[in-house]
Symmetry: C2
Subunit: 612 residues, 2 copies
């Protein structure tokens, strides 16, 4: 244990007390940096994804990237207008999960939740892969280590988040604005170089494997829709802005849309006029940089590093959003409760680790290749767009506040357009990988529902509601205590009652202990206790660091020291689920407690089990 | 648990009762097959190892293989004469560990034990790699899967041994004699083909990277000494022969030496006269086969398969010898006790699994390349040869039975010669890998000694010798039992005493249970019990299948059924070692017991811990 905690302190840092929880409010400029890195960074790969499809019809087809980019920017405008309505209606933050659950009902809400979870995992996978590609484009010698680099970056971002990296405006502004400014300069220099007579070398010969047609163009369009990923972040985080929150959020969203659209259009235009063809081992932006700036220009390397950094930042936003989403869903009983617990450093550590494992798994499966993951990416994003906009339409129809009509029309347009795009994406990308997401979303929803069913079953079985008044023989106060017992009490349920009954049977002095990790109402617990178990004193321990084991172990150690030379029985109540895998849905605290008691040299530890 | 036991039954088979233990006695022909596969199979790689060294001085140096082979055969003769003396002196089987411990003392014995353990692990690694090479030489398409094939073969041999593959004479004779006969036929045909005027193609050009010299020749000689690996097996297994055991063993050893020498010389001679040069991806024997028999002759494939089979058999002998050696060393307290327990199928399962893991690890590290492991191989073999022969010299000097002088001289010669060879091997192969074994042997010996120190410390701390007569308040017989307890008793030590005291404190009816897995003296245990704990009845359960948990769980289930509706406390005594890693030296039965009690729905399980 000591090796483990030493390593943990080194990597993650010491535990923080619950009271250290605080939030920083962001200015518009800082909010843009913190909440838009995901959206803005997608210009690093979106153009390339379009070109990768088009090149299959030969280099002549590459000019189609222009109209496609314009269509995507029109789509972006619609989505942003749509989300401006959401911000107004949900100033406390309206993620798709909440908007869809509130307005469309349980299952659509869960579908939105599942899509978002998948979306966040894929954001990490895509951003890390694309960031690594920016790096290996600049330093081709690193190419063989793509997967290792990706995993290293995930690990570092995970560590930073487990330590409790705050979404600090000042820290995030530097890479975001560096990226934006350098892309703008690159685009400007690109136009200048062209205006001063530079003629790009001809396209290399490309083999033609597909013929031009509607389906083909839609496929390229679908690929480019990845430019839109992340635009919902600002509407989720309205409360992070300085007051007036919703107004600041709306204008930031607009600014972000303008910046994103300009960069995307600029890069797509220049990629065409500089005759850039996607190639293995070098990104389109990197090729553009090399042509405009020259191969060994330090500015080129600067842009690649800026791209890597903003993509790491984009991955980082998922590390803030995914655990928060898991917290909401777990709080509603659809995910294991462990995902709703604050870790040592006041972050949802379990969610952070889960996200890292999932993203790491995908990196390994797809070998860190951005364009292998892209077909999966947009499905989740557009599913949650669609459900969110549809939910908003319902919202306006129900609320009918001032101006509801125009808002409903805007959101309605958004819902229809994103639905059409979603169908397009699923159809054109189905065989390339979208099928995985189409299968995964209902599976995850089924898992959500099964988890809630299990929790409800356990709650029903353990419930002590309607328990007849407890009849026990009054316990005489003994002169000399010879075999005392400590009963650990989590919640008041059937299992606890059994453990207390057992303690009455074997011990001549009993004390019950409960640890408050932050959510216990002391007075009401003591009151219920007096109704049920008035013959046994209940001690409630405070745990400022949210650890269950530490205050308990300290209490037990003191208790045993007060009763030297005799056996003190430590009684741990527990319930046993019907199947072993259901155990994962419950905190396995007793394992850690038993290990802790062992290292504290407790002599007698008793488990009283209640079988469901 | 049920999935686990289902899978286990399928792969390993059902448990066997201890009474099913039996031994088959072998005829000389069968004994040769069972005990010599390791030695005989070494002709599959020994010649190649010599050539691999010589070729570095150019193809002209390859003719040196002749005198080197003759020197090795002289060495073989000395070693075999030497072991004939051992067989006479140790008719119950005289492995190096036993001979060295008895005659040279503790540390030399442990050095021999460590060398043998390493030797057995390397035998598996080398035999499996060489067998796989025989296969991939015939079917080059399998070459990329070398490591996977090696691991598969290890897994299969492990499974067969976990099932309790008996060293069945009939089963083993087929592959061994098939191999011997086919190698003899190959050699015969080789001479015939040459006699009828066949002229081998010239040697291909070989780059010269080393110059001829004494060190170089000794290096080639050391490489060829791998031909001697496994010759000690017959002297270890004397008792496996039909009576008169030692006479049969001696003549079998002689026969084996003659066969091995002839095959080795024949192959080395033909490899020279057929101008065979070692090459990547094809063994020397395979090249010889292709030249003599023709590329697509079924007889060629037949020889390769026979080679693979005898090499699997050679690996298999280590699977019988290694766990037996571990049993001896563990019984003496130098290895974890778990290695001395018979598994479900009456084999030392833990030793078998340990061997498989070690060999598998080496396969992965050395990528299944036979000649990468060879430099490590001979060090352990010759260390144990030397210690064994030296021990025999000491034996004769002590015993002075009839003819001791000549025996001592023969063993003395053997000891001197093997010492010289050992030094030669270490010097010439040091940088190629022998250093690993030179480091490993003392480390393993240190581990042996540390383990015994720990066991002695624990025994001293837990000892109840000199415990004053127990004074406890006589327990009144209660009318109605309300809180009974079952105390599980392994051995009678301080921890047990504590658990019983605790039970007296909390329960109104107590029963103690002990499981006899085959080694308990019922009467003497009951007698000691009566002296110590006469107020508590002790039940001794028989366990014909050597399982601790099963009879206990059944007893507890019956006990709880006899006391319906009340809490029965199951008390498990345990002691806690000072460091967590010391826990591996003790059976972690309590973990399995707790899991079992959980699946049997026991309600109250108490651990009473004694801290060392």
């Amino acid at each position: 244990m000591s090796l483990y905690s030493g390593l943990k302190n080194l990597l993650i840092g010491r535990s923080l007390p619950t009271s250290a929880h605080a939030e920083e409010r962001l200015s518009r400029a800082a909010g843009l940096a913190v909440l838009s890195s995901d959206a803005l960074s997608s210009v690093a790969y979106a153009t390339e994804e379009i070109l990768l499809v088009l090149v299959m019809a030969g280099s002549g087809a590459l000019s189609l990237s222009q109209p496609i980019a314009i269509a995507i920017i029109a789509l972006l405008a619609i989505v942003i207008l749509s989300y401006r309505q959401t911000i107004k209606a949900y100033p406390q933050g309206g993620g798709s999960y909440i908007v869809a659950r509130e307005n469309l009902g349980l299952v659509p809400g869960l579908v939105a939740g599942a899509s978002l979870m998948i979306d966040y995992i894929l954001t990490v996978t895509v951003s890390i892969s694309a960031g690594t590609a920016a790096l290996t484009s600049a330093v081709p010698a690193l190419q063989p280590y793509t997967v290792e680099l990706c995993l290293l970056f995930i690990f570092l971002v995970m560590l930073a988040n487990l330590r409790g990296l705050r979404e600090s405006g000042n820290l995030f502004m530097l890479p975001t604005y560096t990226f934006v400014v350098s892309v703008f300069i690159l685009i400007g220099l690109g136009f200048l170089k062209q205006a001063t007579g530079y003629v790009a070398p001809d396209y290399p010969q490309a083999p033609v494997t597909e013929s031009l047609g509607l389906f083909f163009v839609l496929k390229a369009f679908s690929a480019g829709c990845t430019a839109l990923t992340g635009v919902e972040a600002i509407s989720d985080g309205v409360m992070a802005f300085k007051p007036p929150e919703w107004k600041n959020a709306r204008s930031t969203l607009l600014a972000m849309g303008a910046i994103l659209g300009t960069m995307f259009l600029g890069i797509t235009y220049l990629a065409h006029s500089y005759h850039i063809m996607p190639e293995e081992g070098q990104t389109v932006v990197s090729q553009l940089g090399r042509q405009i700036l020259g191969d060994s220009n330090p500015a080129y390397y600067f842009i690649q590093i800026a791209t890597l950094l903003i993509l790491l930042l984009a991955a980082n936003t998922s590390f803030a959003d995914f655990p928060r989403l898991c917290y909401f869903i777990a709080r509603d009983g659809f995910l294991p409760r462990q995902l709703s617990l604050l870790g040592d450093r006041l972050v949802y550590s379990n969610g952070i680790i889960l996200l890292s494992l999932c993203a790491g798994f995908l990196i390994i499966v797809f070998q860190g290749q951005t364009n292998a993951v892209i077909p999966l990416y947009a499905v989740g994003v557009f599913t949650s767009f669609t459900l969110s906009q549809a939910g908003m339409v319902r919202h306006w129809l129900n609320e009918r506040t001032a101006g509801w009509r125009s808002s409903a029309i805007i959101n309605g347009l958004g819902a229809v357009v994103t639905t059409v795009v979603l169908i397009t994406i699923v159809l054109t990308k189905f065989l390339l990988g979208a099928w995985m997401v189409v299968i995964a979303i209902p599976l995850v929803v089924y898992l959500f529902l099964s988890i809630r069913r299990h929790y409800r079953y356990v709650a029903r079985r353990l419930s002590i509601e309607g328990l007849p008044p407890r009849s026990y023989i009054p316990r005489p106060k003994v002169e000399v205590v010879t075999h005392p017992a400590v009963v650990l009490v989590g919640q008041l349920h059937q299992g606890t009652i059994e453990a207390l009954d057992y303690a009455r049977l074997i011990a001549d002095e009993i004390v019950a202990v409960h640890v408050d990790t932050g959510s216990t109402d002391h007075a009401s617990l003591q009151q219920r206790w007096q109704q049920l178990e008035s013959d046994i004193p209940l001690v409630i321990l405070d745990s400022p660091y949210r650890s269950l084991a530490e205050p308990l172990l300290k209490f037990i150690q003191d208790y045993e020291a007060e009763h030297p030379g005799i056996f003190s029985t430590i009684i741990i109540p527990g319930f046993v689920t019907r199947n072993w895998w259901e155990g994962f849905l419950h905190n396995q605290t007793s394992i850690f407690l038993r290990l802790g008691l062992r290292s504290k040299r407790s002599r007698v530890v008793t488990t009283v089990r209640y079988y469901l």
